[in-house]
Symmetry: D2
């Protein structure tokens, strides 16, 4: 019954793998033939309710299966590039968890090799498939926000500390991929600066502040932390025509659109006093957000892009953009916060 | 009936002056003899309900009054140093609005001159006199928070743009003075870095991100902005024993104390997944906050410090500390975000 | 300089009197000639900053002053009727705090006597002069809400217990007057039922639930309590076309308008499950609310109504409507919650 | 491999059945042998991922299976009694969704018959198995709340309208069962009154207000509605020593404990004014809530009670108590809100 479906193998049965398994299974276009993990008992446990899915500890065995057309890599970051490369080399389309790889060089090699082999390479920038991010992109692309002057994102919670990357690599890829997705193509970052604190002395920063600098002088800033007692997921976007507030922790009104741009008129003393005590001006509008599960939309996009032989919305190049920003931010942290130019051609 | 009261003159009838007038009048230890402003009709209007207070456009006239023992300066930042110096030179104790002056050199001159003349110099760091900041200081000084690892403050709203300073000079002095007030004296910042964006092309940054770096590796970060559609006043403090969240916009629970420090144990995969979906761990406690008006407490401290011939809680040196950080942050912005050492002895 | 202004006397220097004094003084059309209270020292203290206002403990002295054209009564409820009657008898226009009187008979006598003497009688239903209530009335009267099917108001906080009335008489007049003000004139309550609990054994109920019943079957329900640890001021209005949520404790978005009426379609099992987990459907809109102080608008309406010889927006009859509902609710509580018909002609 | 496990059959594959299936399957003490629904294709779809579970449209077939020791009834309310009776008659222990039955007579017959046959009869009052309700019960039973003076619950959302019961029967059983569970056994309701509005003319009330009256004069009030644009789940409990606020929509602080009881001291005028503007007094404490899934704990209690031959925490009698209150509330609505005595011995 799955003859016409895209055969998928999932590599990695850890935190994210089960979500991919569930969504690729639910997708009408795909069937999951393998769940592959070095910890085979764990993979067996995860795949228990999925009779169509076999389990293996051997990637070679999985890649040798002609019924597998695509591989989804959901393993620790350091292994992304090698595993994805093996899958591409076996002629499989590849989906990789964010971030695409550990270094820009690795990412570039993946993009180049996929292009050479004519295979689809996609990065799972899940947030780009949420209703709220797509609504923000629609508002910006339609001109409703005007020129984007301000982007600030807070993505903080109480750890757990990861053992292989710092908090910036753990959390900031979400914001970097969202930015790449929602901003007009004319608006690309030109430099990056960052500050990080390894105050817990673990070898990895647990608090990081990252700034993307744009040609128009705007800064897009990301605050990532594992040290916050409360979970905050709040993004502000200020435009010349309207302003957006996305609070992902708000169950009912995730996105608020303020009918107010930035006002430059010089105010007299009375007016200033008045504004200082007012909370906002202009009406606010909270549009209905499409509640479709992002991951379902993402796996569908992967299958459709392969089917239609086109680049997926969040392709390897998008993943590479995120890597470039992270690598530059790493360098900025090492150099005391210095602004590092970002050259998309590198 | 005001014979034994400290005679005060207020210079500046703009945004803040009326608040000082009201509070110095209400204070049992002080009487306001003069309200001085170049815009005399404005001063007359502000002083209308205060029969004990005379109005003048001439600072000389005010300083010549022997019944005036102290002068409160609430004028634009650029004029602070000159006006305060004239008042000190006339033998008056001086209270200056934040920031103390426009440059470190000016601030140092004021501190030195006040010391030489044996006069009280105080900077109006109003937030240090709020119940919530004093409660945070008490918790930190009592050891309930443990070592402070993390300080993050968001102080943003929709303009109005000021015509003489950037947003960092407008808003960050609050956080810098609070930090100086609540941290243990052993914890002093050693460097500053900052990013700023003058995306509105007004000549002054309307968004700024400032980081104070401490010897233990901790960063205290301040996000100041005039471009946010919503007013946010949120400060996080993470310690090894407890964590604090101060939301100044929350009318009923301004301060929340989380019975949870940072946890470093390595967690297995299941636990990690579980924590990622939990919002916080540990009990939370919202202590009652003393609701006394901060400004009332501040003017009382000014009068008491003069009376007791002791340094006020937020003395000239505290104001100078803020200036040093602001000046270093200015330099960091000019130099692309570079970390600038902060030497308190400078 | 106040020659053309309406001379006002305020009776009662307690909780509300100072607010009236401040607003009648600020109003361009009125001047406060007297503040009258049996506790003359208290009145003297309250009137300290108001040089145009004399103080007296004698209502006779005040009423004898020909410069007094209007009297505002802000005394305990039990004294409203007698004081207002004396003022009307002296030929003065009268403003009375809510509720208009202690009994329907007293209220009817006031309305009749004011009409006979051709004097303005107004009840200070302050909430009817707030921007948010006026916005709700505008939306309902313009048909944007459709037919009103549902009104629920929660008005609760932690006492203080009043010594002369129960919680229903203390808090429900706000909701009853708002309802009378915002509903279309075709929609009048036909019956009242209520439950009350004097669980503290003070002789007055400290918790009360009041229902107004309408001809179309709708219920308007008010929950009034002095026993809640948190202050809640939340009103829901459900219409066939749109729904409103007024949260008076929300500083930035007091009024939310939901683009959703009640939906009657029978849903299949899947749809039902889906709706049960969704928080709301349809866009939400938070209109800007006119922030003008309600009391300022109220005193201006009083003066203007007198000047234009027309009924004020919240006239004696509106106050009487509130009394009728309260009296019926009292009877319902005595009779175990029985529905008591409400006859406006009584 | 399930030899020692309690064999369970679930009747009803609608909204709730799948949740029972998932939880009984996950429970170490139980195995689900059958999922029974007249709509067999639907049952087949629901049971797809559960290989141990067979599907049938025939209750007789299911009851004839000796491996089935217990039956869980999750069907429309009107069928509860007949299905549960058939299961008891076949010698099976029975779990019934709330409410236990459609009438008190039915409920009493079930309780009596289960007792006679020595079988366990349990009502699925799910909320009694949540961490937050158990925490509230612990606080009350430990005396931390003092005497309970006030209970108010708001349980409202936008439909969907059910086709077989009114909103009171749909939503109020939650509150009635919670009350029965958390209050001390000495505090039983003595009367019920209710108001309901069928403003949509569907034959069933879509808004209802229900009051339970206690011997000490306290009222426990429930507001149930399908007409609210927003989903509210808020319960207030006021005691002489402490007060509780349970906001089930708050993801991080579901339960707040206020260190403040009701205060009866007469306050002077100044104090009254001050309290009116303060939001709460006393510290607040938000205890960590056990996040274990309520349904998991409920099915475990069912299995354990059968095993230990003891009454489950929410037994048939608890279900009957809820029915008695609902029936009395129905009668009160019919009689215009009259208070109806509640006799537990009926």
């Amino acid at each position: 019954m799955t003859d016409n479906k895209l055969g998928v193998a999932i590599v990695g049965a850890g935190y994210w793998g089960p979500n991919l398994l569930r969504n690729f299974t639910a997708c009408a276009k795909t069937t999951v033939r393998w769940l592959c993990d070095l910890d085979e008992p764990r993979a067996r446990k995860v795949a228990a309710g999925f009779p169509a899915t076999r389990v293996s500890a051997s990637l070679d065995e999985v890649l040798a299966d002609d019924n597998v057309s695509a591989v989804a890599v959901a393993t620790p970051v350091g292994t992304h590039a090698a595993l994805a490369m093996r899958a591409l080399d076996a002629g499989k389309h590849v989906l990789v968890e964010k971030p695409l790889a550990r270094t820009v060089a690795e990412g570039k090699a993946l993009v180049a090799f996929a292009a050479k082999r004519g295979l689809t390479l996609m990065c799972d920038h899940t947030f780009c498939y949420t209703g709220v991010v797509r609504k923000m992109r629609d508002l910006i692309h339609a001109g409703d926000v005007g020129d984007v002057l301000y982007f600030d994102s807070v993505r903080i919670n109480l750890g757990l500390f990861q053992s292989d990357v710092n908090v910036m690599w753990d959390l900031a890829p979400h914001d970097l991929s969202i930015l790449d997705f929602i901003l007009p193509s004319s608006m690309k970052p030109v430099a990056v600066s960052a500050q990080g604190s390894d105050v817990m002395k673990t070898g990895y920063e647990s608090v990081a502040y990252l700034s993307l600098h744009f040609a128009n002088g705007a800064i897009a800033h990301v605050h990532a932390s594992w040290l916050s007692p409360v979970k905050v997921r709040m993004t502000l976007i200020g435009g010349t025509r309207r302003m957006l507030v996305w609070d992902d922790m708000d169950p009912s009104e995730k996105l608020k659109v303020y009918d107010k741009g930035v006002d430059l008129r010089e105010a007299d003393r009375e007016a200033r006093a008045q504004v200082l005590v007012s909370y906002r001006t202009g009406d606010m509008w909270a549009p209905t957000i499409d509640g479709q599960e992002a991951l379902g939309r993402m796996v569908s996009e992967f299958a459709t892009a392969i089917e239609e032989r086109r680049a997926p919305e969040t392709d390897g190049e998008a993943g590479l953009q995120v890597l470039r920003a992270l690598a530059a931010a790493d360098e900025s942290i090492r150099r005391g916060g210095l602004r590092i130019p970002l050259d998309a051609s590198l």
